[in-house]
Symmetry: C2
Subunit: 258 residues, 2 copies
């Protein structure tokens, strides 16, 4: 295997104009997509990515993602996403990100936690059993990621339901699940356009609790924790059996003024 590859991967992206919001800043969902792309390229290049895993009926599943941005790339900005493995245990691995300008200025950082599952049983599988723990060869301990880890989002029982949406064809990824990035879009859509003229997310964090499928209805609950800080819970109502709500995501967002 490609033993000589560096531990940190660096990938260039463009803040495409049609991926930017009314303030000309890249949508956080599209930024998240580029981070997932970087993770995918990095792990494929090093031999423990989807292209190796899928034929042996395993896949990576994103469990948590946190993004903290001092600044957000603007339309037409080129930028780099760097990514590296921070740690790898039997059932979870931590992958960090830095988002840099082409002039090396730091836009922000990301942290993510991934599990590996068996695509037939949908059960967690041992990450370190893949290629004799190859991923451990790539753990980077020197590089700093100066943002807090995600913590469990606490949310009150009586948090109000503020929106229910149906999911459709465009929400679903190649595995038939609601796309991780689409949840980010749906969450940010809970605020109206006038809000975004004044505020942007400074820290966005999401924990994926269960998978939802096309046709499931998603229910969004939101509470304000502090000024400009919100907690969100998403539950699903499974299509054709609308009895019980099952939690699918929790998210926490802190906004700052533009």
């Amino acid at each position: 295997m490609n033993q000589l590859l560096s531990k940190v991967g660096r990938y260039e992206f463009l803040a495409e104009p049609f991926h930017c919001d009314i303030t000309y800043r890249l949508f956080i969902g599209h930024l998240g997509n580029h981070m997932l792309n970087a993770a995918d390229f990095h792990s494929n290049d090093r031999g423990y990515g989807m292209s190796y895993l899928n034929p042996i009926h395993k896949t990576w599943v994103l469990s948590r993602l946190a993004i903290e941005m001092e600044e957000i790339p603007m339309a037409y900005d080129k930028f780099f996403v760097e990514t590296w493995i921070e740690d790898a245990m039997k059932y979870f691995t931590g992958r960090n990100f830095s988002i840099l300008g082409t002039d090396e200025r730091v836009y922000g950082y990301g942290r993510s936690v991934w599990a590996m599952i068996d695509t037939e049983t949908r059960q967690p599988t041992d990450i370190l059993s893949v290629r004799d723990g190859l991923i451990k060869e790539y753990i980077e301990t020197e590089k700093d990621c100066p943002i807090r880890k995600s913590s469990r989002v606490k949310i009150n029982e009586n948090t109000p339901l503020i929106r229910t949406i149906s999911t459709g064809y465009s929400d679903v990824d190649i595995n038939g699940h609601i796309n991780s990035v689409k949840y980010i879009e749906h969450i940010l859509d809970l605020w109206d356009i006038d809000w975004y003229r004044e505020y942007r997310p400074q820290r966005f964090e999401i924990a994926y609790v269960a998978e939802a499928h096309c046709g499931d209805r998603l229910c969004f609950y939101r509470e304000q924790e502090q000024q400009n800080e919100y907690n969100i819970r998403i539950t699903k109502l499974v299509q054709d059996e609308e009895k019980e709500e099952v939690e699918v995501c929790r998210s926490k967002i802190k906004f700052i003024r533009n």
Copy 2:
């Protein structure tokens, strides 16, 4: 100006895995986005793009788009979008596309019609007045685009309303209008996931009639014209003044079996 640039521009894209549907094919919306990117790069590079127009308070507005695909790029496929100007008149210009594999095989073609508007008055402006008609230097007459032009989509008066949706933050582009690509996503979401396990769009055509804004409600009307061929009309109900529906788009889709 860059007089030496070729008339046809060619840009490489990747069918990103998170931009692909359950059949591993690139979503038509994301393909459309790459075509719009190619158009944007091509016109900017040649001096009549947004980066020249915006400071002089003009912009390109997409009026029609038709995409016809024999095959659709699959997850991780690299592909080229070629684009060129077919004709340029005072108020409209025709821009064509071909979508090619890295092995030069043809996936499909596209045709589009663009107007130019004054961003202050929102009125059409003379395309040929920009840089003394520079765009005419780039008209390509040799290259073939073997698909039909878009024609006006005829749709019956009594076509049934099948869905109404609210638009939000993620639907809106840097100009504050509903993003052209988001209409494509919303239209394709009118069919459920099981449909797409069997069928894919072979020809997708859309005409943009009026602009919609964040918060407008969009109403989708659909009729079946022939087997696997559908006509769609989208109207808007303007926020806080829900009296009169105004037509914003018409679209026609022909599906083929996967």
